[in-house]
Assembly symmetry: C3
């Protein structure tokens, strides 16, 4: 991680800190609205007091969508013919289909089966199922247990109801020298899942603490913690115009916690500033990365990159959603992510931010080559030309500091790492041989 | 032929109909001017009453060229030393060099040989030779027969003369909603040859009948039946300014009757709208096609694409002129073309027209993704993400309906056929989720 | 060498003439300033009376640099413990480090060793070493001789001093029809070396004599004979604004005398008019050429192409500086270059100039294809299409004379050599079928 400017011991602590947050937040019964979302936002606000909490009331129209009622869930379970309590929501919140309507009745197994969801190929996993926008009820069950259910009378209880309330989200703006913004977006709407839920908020939180700690910021940073899809639609309805006006680059933080892969989802256009930064950072760090097609998108780029906004938003992930078998099941748990995995997700996204902060256009201040030796920057003997690499790099940097090339362009053209390019830029700027534009 | 909207039985009938027309027109003694041209145009007008016949008088200047006199040919033959009538024009009009001046005299074999044309490598073929712009006479003979000619006195008769008349051509304009035009051009100046003559007019005629039959037309269609080269020069002199102003895409119909290959001649620029359409259609239909270099051009693109006009004109052929051995000989006869071959030429060009008619730019009507389930377009259960392909295609279409992408662009980006793209467009437009621009 | 318009015997004479000049100039003790430079410039002026000699006084600021004092060197040698005179400047001027300060003293071998330069891997070569901008002294010695030096007392004499004087250079402007300029730059600052010094001035001189001999010139030619680096900086400080305003293409003449390779150094941008010309000429002549990266630059493109000027300047070399082992040693002598080698360097650069002089944009004068036969340019018989290549080339030329394509573009598109393209252009222009823009 050459772009890393923390001590190694700090890195471990960052990884561990994020993992501990994920552990705290894991049991919370989140959905797209309701108390679970508010509990999650309050936990984050506790670590990041600048976070502002907003709510959009039930029934408000956001483009083609409408803010739904809040789902209140108090208890849910099934009593089997032997009198055993099974599928207990209080034991695992994935047992209950999200947004299930209230039920209190008895039925035989055949009828119950109509309301059960399981995955035959993963017999021990509880699948994650929701029905946000149509009244239904259901339970999710490991397939192995489903096969053991016996005929008889089952008692089903779902103690839920729907109330007018709000769609809650958190937003923070950390000002920088420029009004241009770097945007971070993550979601807080899945119940007990780790990679495809909690990795996003905890890495985003760690990034924001790091951004706050910077002595100065070139760009303004805006971050949101929103429910996926409806939250992104709603936020665009509220702030889309500003995002379009100020966004320099945006990053969706999702699936950044496992340790199996690095995955990249480009923007719709595929060649925005955010795409340039991301592709350069992967190459600069020497990370093997799988770049996906935008046709394989699945998170809030579906809203941010839709034609009416078409924002420069990308995702730098570990294992991409919908590509690992644990996805959207109870197996996406705290064992699937790790401090190391979270740290990798944190580091690659932080590298992008560091790159953006430093990626100035440069231009030379002096026509022709400067006289380097009078500044102590060059040997004054000319002989069988053996220019030391650093000397060649300095002269090459000056040659491409043409006012049209940014630090990434120069690094790529002259064949040095971003860190080396930045050190060259600092040295040459100190000697007044180049200036930022 | 996925773009085909006719019944299979209709297709056979179209092929047969075109072949029958070719049979009717085969014996006519066409040249660049004269009665053969007029007979051919009248035959076509009989099937397409909208066709307007025009004549440009002998002597009129058309750019660098001048309309020649008409060549009137009544009879031509040679009497050999044994008194046999050979090389009889009335038996095969290719025996006589086109535009031969009148002759009535005797000569020995040695002198006659100066006026004979044959092809050694095709001993049984009569070559096709003309001398439009210089006074000459000549006979064309199968090489095998030429070798049997014996010394002695030959009587030569060519009962021809030249008269002031006109260069005749046919033109039809079928109006559409837009003044922008799709242009079809074919030629009617070769005598008894099938692929490199009659395939063009009969396929063009069938296309025009099909165009007329459409319930509505987005574009205006303009078609011409002209003598090759001088006819295209003359037509550009008359109507070149309009063509330049209104032409959206143009197609030269030539060599569209055999069943051996599909061949593509791009425009001079190589990347016009007509080129885009043609290359997409070949790919969409999965047809193997040989794309030629514009350096291998040979028909009226020589005029349409010349720098002063530089029109978006291409040719979608079966076997390209000058690439098959039968070309410009008596072997390019009714056995070389077929109903199937003609149908292939018809279908590929019609596919282009269908593609053009449907190739709108689309833009979404709603910011962000629309709520598909409330329109019955999506399952309302979210679970282990298994989006059916048609759902994914719908969302992908919406994502690329950005106002800059036409139906071809969208189909290529999201990886569906043109027919599928059109069905998606129709469905989404019906639900007011996209609109044409 | 198809672009060559001299007789073969002339070519040999050009090669021999240049080699003889190099022989004359070889012994002169050049440096970046001083009498050696003036002697060299006067020799050239003798062959090219139009050459204007200029001097910039010691102490004048040129951008980041300052014109140094002149180095006056009268004698230099070492007397070894046996009383032998070694490292005698009068025997080989490379023995003395350039710009050595005066010395007259005795020292033991250990101290002397601090001032000796040799190359272990080339035991018989005297290296070329200078210290222009820092006061030092030193001697350069074949490594084999250095190893034979015995302990004892050495007497060291360097009879040099530094005086206020000037930096001298030569400049010639040969006017043409246009104020746009073709620029030639070569350097005259190395002592007795052949490829990496004298090949440049002698080939430039021969090119200028050839340019003068042309009956007319489309472009103005400007050439300079300058010391490398400081001379180019100084010349840009004086004339950079004019160069930027008028330069169409520029060529640095360096390392153009050996017979081992052809090497190309592109401009910084890599796609200027000079790059286009050079790459085309290599291809047109069928010469195998090694194209170097601009990162491997090393001559005055370091100044001409620096961002503030960014001029279209390239080098067409034989073996590139710093790539052959003889470079910057006494082995880069008159045996390393040859009349043939110099002629190759001359011919490839002259081919570029001939190409530039003839590389007009062309446009047709007549809409559609012209009637070629009435101008005697085409057979009037149309038959089995066998267009002779020259006929096809003529029609192809007309097809691409679109006002946007220059002669190089047309030659590349229609697949003919530059010479053929020029002959076609001349013929078509003579018949008023095309005109230059």
């Amino acid at each position: 991680m050459p772009l890393n400017n923390m001590e190694l011991t700090d890195d471990f602590q960052v990884g561990k800190k994020m993992y501990d947050w994920a552990k705290d937040l894991f049991p919370v019964g989140r959905s797209i609205t309701g108390q679970g979302v508010r509990d999650t936002l309050n936990y984050i606000k506790n670590k990041l007091p600048e976070l502002k909490l907003h709510g959009i009331p039930t029934g408000e129209k956001v483009f083609d969508w409408e803010i739904p009622q809040e789902w209140v869930i108090r208890d849910a379970y099934v009593i089997d013919p032997q009198g055993n309590k099974i599928l207990d929501y209080k034991k695992h919140n994935l047992h209950l289909m999200g947004y299930s309507e209230p039920v209190n009745c008895e039925m035989d197994l055949e009828e119950l089966q109509q309301h059960l969801f399981s995955i035959e190929s993963m017999p021990h996993a509880i699948p994650y199922v929701t029905s946000y926008y149509k009244s239904r009820w259901g339970f999710c069950i490991p397939h192995a247990e489903r096969e053991k259910l016996v005929p008889g009378t089952y008692k089903v209880l779902i103690d839920s109801n729907f109330v007018n309330g709000s769609l809650d989200y958190g937003e923070v703006v950390i000002p920088g020298e420029s009004k241009e913004e770097i945007y971070l977006s993550t979601y807080i709407c899945h119940p007990s899942m780790a990679n495809n839920e909690l990795s996003g908020p905890v890495v985003t939180l760690a990034l924001l603490q790091w951004i706050k700690s910077l002595p100065k910021r070139r760009y303004t940073y805006r971050a949101v913690f929103i429910p996926e899809t409806i939250g992104a639609v709603a936020y665009l309805a509220k702030r889309g115009k500003e995002l379009k006006q100020y966004m320099k680059a945006g990053f969706i933080l999702t699936c950044v916690g496992d340790n199996l892969a690095y995955s990249f989802m480009p923007s719709r256009k595929g060649n925005t500033y955010a795409d340039k930064i991301a592709r350069f950072v992967y190459k600069d760090l020497g990370l093997p990365v799988k770049e996906y097609s935008f046709l394989q998108r699945g998170s809030d780029e579906r809203q941010y990159c839709s034609p009416a906004y078409d924002l420069p938003v990308v995702s730098l992930m570990r294992s991409k959603y919908a590509t690992f078998k644990e996805y959207h099941t109870s197996c996406d748990n705290l064992d699937f992510i790790s401090p190391d995995g979270l740290y990798g997700g944190f580091a690659i996204n932080r590298a992008c931010l560091e790159c953006i902060e430093n990626n100035y256009l440069y231009e030379v201040t002096i026509p022709c080559e400067p006289k380097m030796d009078k500044r102590g920057l060059r040997s004054s003997i000319g002989g069988p030309r053996v220019i030391e690499p650093s000397m060649a790099n300095m002269m090459n940097f000056l040659m491409y500091a043409d006012g049209d090339s940014d630090l990434i362009d120069i690094a790529e053209t002259i064949g040095v790492s971003f860190l080396e390019a930045k050190q060259l830029a600092n040295l040459l700027e100190k000697h007044n041989l180049i200036r930022k534009i």
